[in-house]
Subunit: 338 residues, 3 copies
């Protein structure tokens, strides 16, 4: 879907300097771009890469100069670049039409234009919204609801009763709605605590490959609209996550923890049960949040057990100086003896 | 399967106070319960939630009062609640009958009432016990043995030769019997060490979604009866785990480590190779157990490298006070100079 | 494929002492071996296990004695044992012939002897090299290239455009080529940064079960020839990994990090974005490498943030002695007061 530089500028909110009739066919990195591909520059530091690029059209902020190109001026070039990419590169279809091998129960309701790939299985009482695409080998359990415009890549499993909003993207291997992990020890063995709750995924959520999201025990596990979840993430029963949060790969969130809106969680973070991570907090990679802990709104924490970043840095600096500190104490002791 | 309060009390070992003929249709949380649903109270702290609930039937310990309800007295309300849930909520079937699309080798022996979902593949020389259910897209490799009453959710992979006991539950995406990770470096490249061993899963084990359990190299990887394993757990070749242990999400257990009975392992724990975690030990979330380490029976450890909880807390408290300690040493040095 | 001791010795580069005509049918551990199975001894420490074994043929280094056996002398018994195992135990076929249920697009080119299991889906413009086997339920997206002699176990997903070299092994549940995790926050929500790049896997790579490898954003994610990746590993967009490296289970490598050749990465390691791990470095289990950090060639690091092993040990020893150090400072303060 090629567009002119002027059309792109209009759509992403940029100002054209130079030839607005230039045709742009796609986005690229400065190194890989051909003449008709769009690139972006965020700061002076990346200007040289852009100058060496073949790209004739460049998104960049005010105050930077680049000769001989069509410049699209914008305060947020990376954001504009992302929007332009969505205009120029239509997502490849995952499934078109309903493949004859799909096993679809009679009571299933498919909206207009739903795509269902080979060997998909859809159980009774499922509803799928218009334009949603289900890749090969997806399994959709009884009573599931999927909104419009969703993209489920091949081999996604939705346990019975799971609810997905509109425009949700789920990558291969993700499992949504599996039983939570709850047992009561008695009489020498583990008894399964009931895992009867639901799971609700909001609009515009994206879920990475091989991620597991458990249903609630007696409540509902909820992922707020616009939240993005990376690969191999574990989300336990009864967790609730607010809107527009970011959860990087291999993070685990234990039962009944609540995550706010616009929270940023790094990779391999562990959040124990019943924590409360308030709006806008940031958890550094590999941080560990102990059971029941609250992280205040907007705070950045690091380490295990997690503490505020400034404190972490200070403590860690002292940790690195421990051998030296030990020597100084030893010297003081010797002086005291003398 | 509704039951009267008296029937439930008899089955879970509780004493009825009030109307034993009350019909109970299911279990719930105090907040969500309707009048015919059973709830439980563990301690005085949760009494108020129960008092506000619509539930007319409540499991609770001696010594707590709640007016106008049918009370089921028991020393362990949460345990009794779990048992009652199993009575009241039959697990939904995963597969009933043998779906015509299943690809089942001629030599496969299916017990009475085995359910096989759409697009299941079962290779030669497999035996499946009575009443076991295999969800859609499961793959069962050559020579596998599955006991009676197992529930394999859609999309479980059993590599050739894997052995499962009775009443095993396996969630979607789990892989059992994949090759262990062993290589020998020589002549400038990695050579695969043979991964020819087996994997044996005991009765009543539950295995979470997207968990990986490798076959042994030359030995057998063993999971003891009644052990429960959460999502995204890694169990390497030759590991042996005792009975009734609990392993939380994203934990990794390296090759040839031995885990005892009734061990509790938190989330994201890493156990290096050839460790020995003895019966009843507890490993805190994110703990790291170095190669070859033994954790004594009944001990609780924390941190990386893991140490006893009391020691961890003491060391960590000092860690937090390091900047202050540094200031105190500086002051002593200045005093010594003066 | 039984062979004589002499034939094996010739193939693995060992010297025969004793009866070279002895028939060997397979490899085993000393404890499990039957008389016709081959075992190995690496050092005097394991000699007793071998002496008690029924095995009549033993790989062992110079300088060790074992009476009444056929000895195959070699400087590297474990390496020779691995080679012998490959000779004696042919890998069981994953798929033979093309199963009639496979859904294969018309333009797909399958090389000679390619095996395709039940319910495999192969989209348009895919090429598969000679002798490659695709297990049941594999999904191969549009435009994928797979080299010769590869083994994809059941239920592997290759997103469109992924490239695999020759003799690649991929275990069940692995996902190759899913979208990277990149968003730009603006106007109160997350915008998807384009994930249009590719993924290239070199010859002789092995990829564990439930591992996720993302495609590049605008670049290519690359795994070098001979590198071995364990289960549940996360490899983010634009990562490049050199040849013959080892990456243990549950490790996560963030966007744009570069890993050299012959690097050894332990389990649960976290590498933040834009790091550079140079050739031959070793990262201890659970290590954390902060954003942008370089680890020099050949260095061994440990801990979070990772530091050289010797320094880590020294700092950690002081950490364990912190309570004692605190007491010593307290005593000095009291003495100063007196």
């Amino acid at each position: 879907m090629p567009q002119t530089a002027a059309e792109i500028a209009a759509r992403v909110g940029a100002q054209v300097e130079g030839d607005g009739s230039l045709v742009v066919t796609g986005v690229s990195s400065p190194e890989n771009a051909g003449p008709e591909e769009l690139i972006y520059v965020e700061s002076a530091r990346h200007l040289e890469r852009a100058a060496r690029s073949q790209a004739r059209c460049v998104l960049l902020p005010e105050g930077l100069a680049l000769a001989g190109r069509t410049l699209l001026r914008t305060a947020e070039p990376k954001l504009a670049f992302s929007k332009a990419a969505a205009l120029l590169h239509a997502a490849a279809p995952i499934a078109e039409g309903v493949h004859p091998t799909a096993v679809i129960a009679p009571s299933v309701k498919l909206g207009a234009g739903v795509g269902v790939g080979p060997y998909v299985v859809i159980e009774e009482d499922v509803e799928v919204g218009a334009g949603t695409q289900l890749g090969a080998h997806c399994f959709v359990g009884r009573g599931v609801r999927i909104g419009a415009g969703c993209r489920l890549y091949p081999r996604v499993t939705l346990y019975p009763g799971a609810r997905l909003g509109a425009n949700v993207i789920v990558h291969s291997g993700a499992v949504i709605g599996s039983d939570g992990f709850g047992y009561v020890f008695g009489e020498g063995r583990q008894w399964k605590f009931p895992q009867l709750g639901g799971v609700e995924i909001g609009d515009d959520v994206e879920i990475g490959s091989n991620t597991s999201i458990d249903r609630g025990a007696l409540e509902i596990t909820r992922i707020g609209a616009g939240t993005k979840i990376d690969n191999l993430v574990q989300i336990a029963h009864n967790v609730s996550i607010g809107e527009h949060s970011i959860i990087a790969a291999q993070t685990g969130i234990s039962g009944s923890s609540r995550i706010g809106k616009r929270v940023i969680i790094g990779g391999q973070v562990g959040i124990a049960d019943s924590c409360h991570i308030r709006d806008g907090a940031t958890l550094g990679a590999q941080a560990g949040i102990p059971t029941g802990k609250t992280i205040p709104a907007g705070e950045t924490v690091w380490g295990t057990p997690a503490r505020p970043l400034a404190k972490f840095k200070q403590q860690y600096a002292w940790f690195a100086r421990l051998p030296e500190l030990g020597e100084r104490v030893k010297k003081l002791e010797q002086e005291a003896k003398d």
